[in-house]
């Protein structure tokens, strides 16, 4: 599975930009997303949600709802499995509240009826009585003495004694002696930073269609980043045997980490079991905001020491992450990513996972890393500014390389940070003149990337074409990359490959599409499955020719005799072999099942020019360039798309997006009008540079590209704002009121 040096040269198809296989479906409205499925006799469901941030549920009366014509069934917590432990218990508690509603939007009951309107009317008739409890939504307040305790005993063993019970996990790592390092510095800067929670903001709300009978056999259709995960969790929450629930992933209208989760699927299954009918459940947009995964909000302290020549002597960070009412805020990722771009002798990082009365956080593109980069890269920018150093040269001087002991422990193999910095330095953007009132910002970013359990199967058809079944939902064009890799190995045209996202009954377990793992892991599995099929094709040719199997090689879609037999027989094309599959040994199918672990880490450097309007405090991004290491770009257009999408989401996070809670602990902006994601008129074109430093852990050198692109924008824009307006913002988003306040403060001296 290691980098195949022969293959990394001379690709015929990989690196080209063909049309995606599912393009026609997606531009004609034919593609079926989560909410597009129906079933005969289907019911529609609606969920009743807590309007309180923290409240004991004292009574639920469903009688009026049940009396409404058209209502077929109501479920509450009593309709789910009992005795669950660990994360399964957390998920169930989040899916349907037990004794206590833990955040505004927490589900407390659900109803199924013959139409969506009746279901909605019935939900209003379900009476819930609450005893309101004190709440807390801010991360620092939740950790402070006297804060309301969300849940006793939620902390694990990692938490040192003496901390508030809302601190549920703790991480600490690093090496060297930071005190010694700070003493060696010519300048030490320490600052406090905060970021608000943001939402992944996928345009498709969660949706599913569930069928479950009293026989314990079920079918579930849903939009998800990982249907095997849905299968596993739903089975546990409903007390089913895993294999009896078949889950099919719909086309998915965006996820970004937010659909690695389970929210409504168990509810629809419970309603289906109760009513013995298919049940469709679709979230409204405000339900998506109130009850599905935003990111963590953070409070961070970062301290960095630098010599006059730009050498970083020590770095230290404390990262507090609020992750909603359940453990899981990725504090260890924030801490581990924070200083990863730099080769540091002395580094120390601490992370706190803190619970509060907010929805359970979910992964969002490189979870935890963008916030860390915001704090760290802002401090580096300040240091460069005060010491009169060039921001790219300074980063180059300290950059992690192959052989560097990473801030989080391991030693880096071949990585591409230096290459992204060099490419950024050489890019015309970096030296372009700025207009008055504009400022330029730079930032680096890092993400680990991931492999994970993967199973792929590739079946050949009698006409020599191929059907590839993968288990990772296609969020952004991955079918195209898979087809390119399969075509490359088989030596047949790209168009001859049909890629399907298989359901849970068809393949072995596939981990969710996350961690930028799809093109890496499913790609590697596709290559290996194709090689397995090629081996079988060669064996058939060998048998026909009566020569040893290892005397046959595969070239341009044909079996060719090699070695001493070279030239003895005419090349045998794939369709000549598949045509006679049945008579020569049966169907030819290539397989691959494994947990690949060589996902190469990925780095990026972003350059941004921003303009700040001193009257309104509004920041405009006027030019943006993403430079990122992709290892090997299989379909460069979709790689660029990932770079651009991550940058745009980062721009939203930096400038506008935030969860706003009222004094009452209720979310104030649960609609797109008030939670404003970037629209077309907010953004410039986003330039991209694909750097290719091969990942030694993939046959073609692929690194995941989906996540790293959201890490640099927050800091790059903060640095550009600082250069443009002379004010340094320590809190995100840098919304107009915050910038105005900062400008006023500066004016008042």
């Amino acid at each position: 599975m290691a980098l195949d040096s022969l293959k990394s040269e001379g690709f015929k198809q990989v690196g080209t930009r063909p049309d995606r296989p599912d393009g026609f479906d997606k531009v004609t409205g034919r593609a079926k997303f989560g909410a597009d499925a129906t079933a005969p006799g289907m019911l529609h469901a609606a969920i009743v949600r807590s309007p309180h941030a923290h409240a004991r549920i004292t009574r639920i009366d469903t009688s009026k709802a049940e009396a409404l014509t058209g209502v077929k069934g109501v479920v509450t917590r009593a309709d789910f499995a009992t005795g669950l432990k660990g994360e399964n218990w957390n998920i169930l508690e989040n899916v349907m509240a037990g004794d206590t509603a833990l955040y505004d939007g927490h589900a407390v009951a659900a109803v199924a009826a013959t139409s969506p309107l009746i279901a909605r009317d019935a939900a209003k008739l379900i009476e819930v009585e609450y005893e309101i409890l004190p709440h807390v939504t801010d991360v620092d307040e939740a950790m402070a003495e006297g804060a309301p305790v969300i849940r006793e005993g939620a902390a694990d063993k990692s938490v040192p004694p003496g901390l508030h019970p809302n601190v549920v996990r703790y991480h600490e790592s690093g090496h060297g002696d930071v005190d010694k390092g700070f003493a060696e510095a010519d300048l030490v800067i320490e600052d406090h930073f905060r970021t608000e929670a943001t939402h992944q903001g996928y345009i498709e709300p969660h949706a599913c269609l569930a069928t479950l009978g009293g026989d314990g056999k079920g079918e579930l259709w849903c939009c998800t980043q990982g249907h095997w995960n849905v299968q596993k969790i739903c089975s546990a929450l409903l007390g089913l045997e895993t294999s009896q629930l078949r889950v099919t992933a719909s086309e998915i209208g965006g996820g970004f980490g937010g659909k690695t989760t389970v929210f409504i699927e168990p509810v629809a299954l419970a309603l289906s079991r109760k009513t013995n009918k298919p049940v469709k459940l679709v979230m409204s947009r405000s339900e998506v905001f109130r009850a599905t995964g935003p990111t963590s909000s953070t409070s961070m302290d970062v301290k960095i020491g630098m010599k006059k020549d730009g050498t970083i002597t020590a770095a230290q960070g404390v990262f507090r992450l609020q992750g909603g009412a359940f453990p899981g805020a990725p504090c260890e990722f924030t801490a581990m990513c924070a200083f990863a771009p730099y080769a540091l002798k002395n580094v120390h990082q601490v992370g706190y996972d803190v619970i509060a009365n907010r929805p359970k956080q979910a992964a969002y593109r490189a979870p935890g890393s963008p916030m860390a980069a915001f704090a760290v890269e802002s401090v580096i920018d300040e240091l460069c500014g005060q010491l009169g150093l060039d921001p790219i040269e300074t980063r180059l001087k300290n950059a992690s390389k192959r052989g560097t002991k990473a801030s989080f422990g391991p030693t880096f193999d071949q990585i591409g940070l230096v290459e992204t910095l060099e490419a950024a330095k050489a890019h015309p953007h970096y030296s372009a003149p700025l207009k008055p009132g504009q400022g330029r910002g730079i930032s680096c970013g890092f993400w680990f990337n991931h492999g994970g359990e993967t199973a792929v199967s590739l079946a050949l058809s009698e006409d020599g074409t191929a059907q590839l079944a993968v288990g990772t939902p296609d969020i952004g064009g991955s079918r195209a990359s898979m087809a390119l890799m399969a075509a490359e190995e088989l030596g047949i045209p790209y168009e001859n490959i049909r890629v399907t996202i298989a359901d849970t009954a068809t393949l072995g377990y596939n981990e969710v599409s996350h961690g930028s793992r799809v093109t890496y892991a499913s790609g590697l599995a596709t290559i290996e499955a194709a090689r397995d099929a090629v081996k079988k094709l060669c064996a058939r040719a060998a048998a026909k020719w009566g020569i040893p199997e290892d005397a046959v090689k595969w070239e341009n879609g044909c079996a060719v005799p090699s070695g001493p037999n070279a030239g003895d027989f005419d090349p045998l094309p794939i369709d000549q072999i598949t045509k006679r599959m049945g008579a020569t040994g049966g169907p030819i199918v290539g397989h691959f099942e494994a947990t690949p672990e060589g996902a190469g880490v990925s780095f990026a450097t972003h350059i941004v020019d921003a303009e700040v309007d001193p009257e309104t405090g509004k920041t405009s991004v006027v030019r943006y360039t993403v430079v990122q290491d992709a290892g090997k770009a299989i379909h460069p257009t979709y790689v660029e798309g990932q770079f651009q999408g991550g940058a745009a989401q980062g721009i939203g996070w930096a400038l506008n997006e935030e969860y706003i809670y009222g004094e009452d602990g209720r979310l104030q902006n649960a609609v797109f009008l008030d939670y404003r994601i970037p629209v077309a008129s907010d953004l410039p074109m986003i330039d991209t540079v694909i750097v290719e430093v091969p990942n030694p852990g993939h046959p073609y050198g692929v690194r995941g590209v989906g996540e790293t692109s959201i890490c640099p924008p927050l800091a790059a824009i903060a640095n550009a704002v600082s250069a443009a307006a002379g004010v340094r913002l320590h809190e995100l988003p840098m919304s107009p009121p915050r910038i105005l306040t900062a400008l006023e403060k500066q004016r008042d001296g």
């Binding site: 996928y202 345009i203 965006g254 257009t637 651009q644 629209v679």
Partner: protein, 159 residues
């Protein structure tokens, strides 16, 4: 509640349906007529995923009642291609990878077709402002804007 009987045309075909007076045009298209190409991203007129045309005018179908379609002409994404021939915008969107997940795509295509009918030679800024009501979370809009500008140029040349 008693239902209303509505007579209308969808993509040129005569269509009749019954609907509750509270149902939106989007509900009717998706749930009663089985035309699921228009998507519901918000239900509040903020995302544009539900874009259709009503007597040629671009609207958010989540903000129109089904009953309002009486006697009108509705155009949806399902009517954009002519038989097996894709509209030039549809072709260009595929070619440029102007979609990643594709959930915003039907709305953006319907909105853009309406723009090019009104203004066959829009500037980049005009395209960006016209599409400001169509949210795309995946692409950062870059490839969408390029696809629209290029299609407009191709169509001008062809006409």
């Amino acid at each position: 509640m008693s239902k209303m009987h509505i007579t209308t045309t969808v993509n040129g075909d005569d269509v009749e349906f019954l609907c509750d007076p509270r149902e939106t045009l989007l509900d009717v298209l998706r749930d009663r007529l089985g035309l699921t190409g228009a998507k519901e991203g918000c239900g509040t007129g903020d995302c544009g995923a539900c874009s259709v045309t009503l007597d040629g005018r671009l609207v958010c179908s989540c903000l129109v009642l089904g009953a309002e379609a009486e006697g009108k002409r509705i155009g949806t994404i399902e009517g954009m291609a002519k038989g097996e021939d894709l509209h030039p915008l549809q072709k260009k969107f595929i070619e440029h990878a102007a979609l990643q997940c594709g959930i915003c795509t039907p709305g953006i295509l319907v909105a853009t077709e309406a723009l090019l009918k009104k203004n066959p030679d829009p500037s980049e800024t005009e395209v960006r402002y016209w599409l400001a009501g169509n949210l795309c979370r995946c692409t950062g809009y870059d490839k969408i804007i390029r696809a629209v500008l290029e299609t407009a140029a191709d169509m001008r040349e062809a006409s």
